[in-house]
Amino acid sequence: MWRYIERRVLVTIPVLIGVSLLAFSIIHLIPGDPARVLLGDMGGGSAAGDMSQQAYLNLRHQLGLDKPLVVQYADYVVNAVQGNLGHSYQTNRSVSSLILTAAPYTIELTVAGLGFAILLGFVLGVIASLYRNTWVDSLAMLFSLIGLAMPSFWLGFILIEIFAFGLGWFPATGSNGIKTLILPAATLGFIAAGTVTRLVRSTMLEVLQQEYVVTARSKGLRERTVVVRHALRNALIPVVTIVGLQFGSLLAGAVIIETVFARQGLGRLIVDAVLSRDYPVIQGTIFVAAVIYVFVNLFVDLSYAWLDPRIKYE
């Protein structure tokens, strides 16, 4: 087990290096010279002559583009480790402060969405497995299929319409406090709940056929005890892994949900940056989001190893 943990942690290092390399390369992968692209965007590209040539050279120097690539990458990493991810082309604010401001909102949304997905997914999945092949089961499955097929932003619009404009229970937009969190979290969670429901159902069906469940039943235990203490507990393990993996897709879903509900957050930050070609912000946000994702996956894998000692490690 310790060897597994050691190996799993070590594997993370090259991945982190690669992530930084990819984030760094973004600006060099844009077709054309980044400094020219930027000047073009700022409206300076059309004016020919020495002035624009001088501006171009200045900008190149300012961005460090006149240094060798390896030096540029080393600079980027050294700065990134010190928390300096450059400055936004648009607002000139430091990228790390933009990210630090936005990140808590996204984490809050993702965690709340995950909570919602687990709650709904478990309830529906367990009920579906207990009433297998009845209309209850079909209804729960239909629900989960819809969750998997519905565009999240459409669901967001509908929830806003009903609960914000119709009933007036929650504000339609914003990111202040628990009231503004509920609708976005429900939207995000509903989409993920589809996967959780299906997984809980199929795992429960498998576990319910195990001998220890039959034994528990034949001992005359109450059905509730059998389901909660014997079946559900054993069904938890595989579900934990998938739920952990869902965290990543929720993080990705936040990109869309934050726009729907006009919330602050990393997703909004990156979408706005892509739309305005604000490369330092794109690089920084992508880098931070990927690092968060890598650590979440590491944590999920380790907790899985801890939860299920039956698994053999290479």
Binding site: P151, I256, V274, A290
Partner: protein
């Protein structure tokens, strides 16, 4: 290709071809699987609608007609009209010509890219495998929509780039899947035999190993078409893909947002179109998985 070679060999030996009976069995199980069958029928219908769009659309999808703006569904306008008086039925029908190819092409990019990488990594092993799989690990470190955003950020915002972006973001998971199957297929005795006789690697890969990994690829591709369509619609909603006059379902849904309460059909028609399409590919994919490759069941 390899199927027919095997089939020919069996015929030479005076036996019936195993592939035709396997096909019959597959079709049989597909017919028994109600969900998969319904899914397949709807997909075929959508494809026909997309092909016949100019014939069945009844209106020009981009013809602006102010007097007819925001009309509810009627016999004149089956799905109502939008804020510019454009016929929604025509736009949905033409939209099928955009959303379906986007989904199919994006998945084709992921499947082909991922299959080639997975085949090479799994077959050659050692250093090649190490390098390819490390790159795949790094790509997997990005939630797929972020990877798609990176590609869009690099290439620029339009529908074609969204298609490439969604396709590229799917490559790593295919590579993983295919590599796993190749690792086991490589151990088959007939692969060793082919190698001993001096068959070139290219032929061993295409004739002896590829047929073994086709089933999981087909299943996984079908299951990811729905995801690709949703991802492309989402990116269009964010303003990174199809731009407004284009009758793309995702951007129609996004622009109809302001009429959600007063004129709900403007959003529900494209919303339902996306949902029904994704639902039917998923149903078909689930059925296909049960028939072809039950191991993939989550």
């Amino acid at each position: 290709m390899a199927e027919t070679i095997v089939a020919d060999r069996f015929k030479l030996q005076g036996q019936t071809s195993p592939s035709s009976s396997r096909w019959r069995r597959m079709v049989h199980s597909l017919v028994l699987n109600k969900g998969a069958l319904v899914g397949l029928v709807i997909i075929c219908l959508l494809v026909v609608i997309a092909i016949l769009a100019p014939v069945i659309a009844r209106y020009n999808p981009s013809k602006i007609n102010p007097p007819a703006q925001l009309q509810p569904p009627s016999t004149a306008h089956w799905m109502g009209t939008d804020e510019f008086g454009r016929d929604l039925y025509a736009r949905i029908v033409y939209g099928a010509r955009i959303s379906l190819p986007v989904g199919f092409i994006a998945v084709a990019i992921s499947a082909i890219g991922g299959t080639v990488l997975g085949l090479v990594a799994g077959y050659y092993g050692k250093l090649v495998d190490g390098v390819i799989m490390r790159v795949v690990d790094i790509m997997l470190a990005f939630p797929s929509i972020l990877l798609a955003l990176v590609v869009v950020a690099i290439l620029g915002t339009n529908l074609q780039n969204v298609m490439i972006a969604v396709g590229v973001s799917g490559i790593p998971s295919y590579s993983r899947l295919i590599r796993g199957s190749v690792l086991s297929a490589r151990e088959n005795v007939y692969v060793d035999a082919a190698r001993v006789v001096g068959v070139p690697d290219r032929l061993i890969l295409s004739r002896h190993i590829l047929p073994n990994v086709i089933a999981p690829t087909v299943v996984y591709s079908t299951l990811s078409i729905g995801y690709a369509i949703l991802a492309a619609a989402g990116l269009s909603f964010l303003g990174l893909g199809a731009q407004p006059p284009t009758p793309e379902w995702g951007s129609m849904l996004a622009t109809g947002r302001q009429f959600l309460q007063s004129d709900p059909w403007v959003t529900s028609m494209p919303g339902l179109a996306i949902m029904i399409t994704v639902l039917s590919v998923n149903l078909f994919g689930d059925g296909l998985r049960d028939i072809l490759d039950p191991r993939l069941r989550v």
